[in-house]
């Protein structure tokens, strides 16, 4: 479905609408699903509406076009704070959110990863907790999400054909004895499906899919929601405050519209889906006399337990050409290291997924701040280079958190998010293991040289409004409904209790589908 216009407009003082804040993987899906159920929705999105036909095959220009570039700060001992002090995360500010930039890897969280406290034990220095949900409860919704997103190798959809970067990974993985290597589960059409074409192997997945072959809420859930006549999308509408009444129920939001005017949209229910940095920031910035620590924060957990996956990249140069930039960015995956196996010296597991960067990003990310002859030699080998990304479970810690930086304000004069992270020793051990195994894969395939690359600004941002059985342990229940305020929902990756080893978006979409059913049910019973 192509990007289209609204069929309906709701009045600002219409207090019967559901307001969804943020139109990415979580918010876009929730809004579309509610609209399909006949529920009236106003979808507020801070970014502009940029149709996929306008996406650019140019890394920096695309970053400027789509990425969140409002101010943020970073602190803590993680290397990202040193390498990218004003860019702790790589997230989009555009209709469709980060589902525009994502690579499409769509994996289910493993059953034991919903029970990390039980499985890993109470590791010192962590804030591990079991999800209030099981994999069995999630499975029917995972089925629906995979089917909706066209995930390869599920529901009869074939896998994607492997590109050159995959061939190198596959050769090394099999030589090393790994058993689970394929072109994976990708929310990228391998065949024409859902009114969208198949993948054309462009290699600009991180810049938005010009062809719309990769699932994004931008050209699926959002226009589908608009088509029902029950959903109004308002781009360039940045919410700065969620308001509540004397009973402590939310009543609406304040936002700046495209013209810079401060507007109030009333609401029956507010669903927050601004990704894991902005969602807690908005709750904290909405503090009031009744909620002096911010909304939905009686547990004190808003903003805490920030997770961004334990990541690392390994690039390797070969005697012959690879040209990793041709074709899908995440073209293959090795999952043998994703199991729970504490003999390796850490809990949790990780996947290895191919990654490719164009020359502009490769030179900026390979070794931030580097210069000199060795660096130049690595760049000389660009066309002969293959790459993979390690993505594993990182440990939730109370002290890894989003706080308001009162010294730095955004364009509206509002304190920005500071992202504080100190790696847990488990994260460090896992990253070292990933570096070793990633390098081993490439050496097995005949690499001349390997390059171990530190984490990029975080692309997976999770956990800052986590779900919990007990209200004291987290911010929301297993439906994303905040423990404190029944008509306030968390609808993005910030709900995650723990991060698991899998790329998060399939689970974010799955939770949104589940939440839509729950909200419709509760509204039907007039419980909210």
């Amino acid at each position: 479905m192509a990007v289209q216009g609204n069929k309906i407009q709701f009045a600002n003082d219409d207090a019967d609408v559901v307001v969804v804040i943020g139109s990415g993987a979580g918010g876009g899906t929730l809004a579309g699903e509610l609209a399909k159920k006949g529920i009236d929705v106003v979808l507020l999105e801070a970014g502009k509406l940029t149709p996929n036909s306008a996406f650019l095959p140019d890394e920096w220009a695309s970053f400027k076009q789509l990425a969140w570039q409002d101010k943020r700060t970073a602190s803590g001992t993680w290397q990202v704070a040193r390498d990218f002090p004003t860019l702790p995360a790589w997230i989009c500010k555009t209709v469709g959110g980060t589902s525009v930039h994502w690579a499409g890897a769509a994996l289910r969280i493993q059953p034991h990863e919903f029970k990390t406290l039980t499985t890993y034990g109470n590791l010192p220095g962590t804030n591990l907790l079991d999800w209030p949900l099981t994999r069995a409860e999630m499975d029917p919704y995972y089925d629906r999400a995979e089917d909706k997103m066209g995930v390869t190798r599920t529901h009869g959809t074939p896998g994607l054909p492997g590109n050159n970067n995959f061939k190198v990974m596959y050769a090394g993985a099999t030589k090393l004895g790994y058993q689970q290597c394929s072109t994976g589960h990708m929310a990228i059409n391998s065949v024409v499906r859902d009114g969208r074409t198949h993948c054309m192997q462009r290699g600009f997945c991180f810049q938005g899919c010009f062809f719309g072959a990769k699932w994004s809420s931008l050209y699926t859930e959002i226009p589908q929601g608009q088509a029902t006549g029950h959903m109004e999308l308002r781009p360039e509408s940045q919410v700065v405050r969620i308001e509540h009444d004397r009973q402590g129920k939310v009543t609406g939001v304040l936002y700046y519209d495209a013209g810079g005017r401060l507007m109030r949209q009333k609401a029956r229910l507010v669903a927050l889906a601004c990704n894991s940095l902005e969602s807690p920031r908005l709750l904290l910035n909405s503090e009031s006399a009744m909620f002096p620590d911010g909304l939905a924060n009686s547990s004190g957990q808003v903003g805490r337990n920030y997770m961004r996956h334990t990541t690392a990249s390994v690039f390797a140069s070969f005697a012959d050409k690879v040209e990793m930039f041709k074709g899908t960015t995440m073209a293959g995956i090795i999952s043998d290291e994703s199991a729970f196996d504490p003999k390796r010296g850490f809990v949790g597991g990780y996947h290895m997924e191919t990654i490719s960067l164009g020359l502009p990003f490769y030179t900026s990310f390979l070794k931030p701040g580097a210069w000199g002859a060795d660096f130049a030699k690595a760049i000389d080998a660009y066309a002969y280079t293959a790459g993979l990304w390690v993505v594993g479970e990182d440990m939730p810690r109370e002290t890894n958190r989003i706080t308001l930086n009162q010294d730095v304000k955004d364009q509206f004069g509002i304190p920005v998010a500071d992202v504080h992270v100190d790696d847990h020793p488990n994260d460090v051990a896992m990253r070292e293991h990933g570096f070793r195994q990633g390098a081993a894969v490439y050496l097995a395939a005949g690499a001349k040289q390997t390059y171990l690359v530190p984490p990029y600004p975080s692309t997976h941002n999770l956990g800052t409004n986590r779900m919990s059985e007990r209200p004291a342990d987290g911010v929301c229940n297993k439906h994303g409904q905040s423990h404190d305020i029944p008509n306030l929902f968390i609808s993005d990756g910030s709900q995650f209790t723990t991060g698991a080893a899998e790329n998060p978006t399939l689970t974010i979409v799955t939770l949104a589908l589940r939440q839509a059913d729950y909200i419709a049910g509760q509204m039907g019973q007039h419980a909210i």
Binding site: W60, G162, V168
Partner: protein, 204 residues
């Protein structure tokens, strides 16, 4: 590999999208005027010959003198030494700094005082200093505002243009319509993965 001691933000989106032909053929007016001008000739073998309007290239400077431009170019070559990469590409670093300096007085001061310092070290002309000593100078300037400004500009400007893409073998915009029928899986020096690990290639 020497790393920048103070490790600064290395992400600085470029001022402009990569220009396909960022340099122009020198005009008579440019050759006669007194403000800064960098000129050069592309090597005959250069992969870039097809991208430039002519083998001779010229870069008109708005802020820096020709000498200052040449010092910055030489400094950039030490930062990112690619022996066979043409000066025409390094000139883009000078171009980017020149335009930053035109609109930002602080940048202008940082760059000009850095060049002045280098020239002093070089007894009036840093370009006359032996390359091995130039490299020592570059190393000893790590962490200074001049080094940080030139390096963070260079790492983007040098590699974010069509000439660099051609030199290093990156497809850039060529990929816009996809490599499905343009060799996305043309690697033949390793065994083909089995069908079960890969997937069918769409017919069209």
């Amino acid at each position: 590999m020497p790393a920048n001691a103070r490790s600064v933000p290395s992400i600085r989106p470029p001022n402009a999208a990569p220009a396909s032909s960022p340099l122009s053929a020198p005009t008579r007016r440019e050759l006669l005027k007194s403000t800064g001008l960098l000129t050069g000739t592309l090597a005959l073998s250069s992969a870039l010959a097809g991208l430039a309007p002519s083998r001779a290239w010229a870069l008109d400077l708005g802020t820096f003198s020709s000498h200052q431009g040449a010092v910055i170019l030489a400094f950039s070559r030490h930062l990112y030494p690619h022996p066979t990469l043409d000066d025409a590409v390094y000139a883009l670093v000078v171009k980017d700094l020149d335009s930053q300096a035109a609109s930002d007085h602080a940048v202008q001061q940082i760059v000009l005082s850095g060049v002045r310092q280098l020239d002093q070290v070089g007894g009036g002309d840093w370009l006359k200093r032996p390359p091995a000593l130039q490299l020592v100078d570059v190393e000893s300037m790590q962490g200074t505002p001049f080094f940080v400004t030139v390096r963070s500009t260079a790492v983007v400007a040098l590699y974010n243009n069509d000439m660099a893409f051609a030199h290093f073998g990156y497809g850039g915009q060529d990929g816009h319509l996809g490599y499905l029928h343009k060799g996305f899986n043309d690697l033949t020096w390793l065994p083909e993965p089995p069908d079960a690990a890969s997937g069918p290639i769409p017919p069209n």
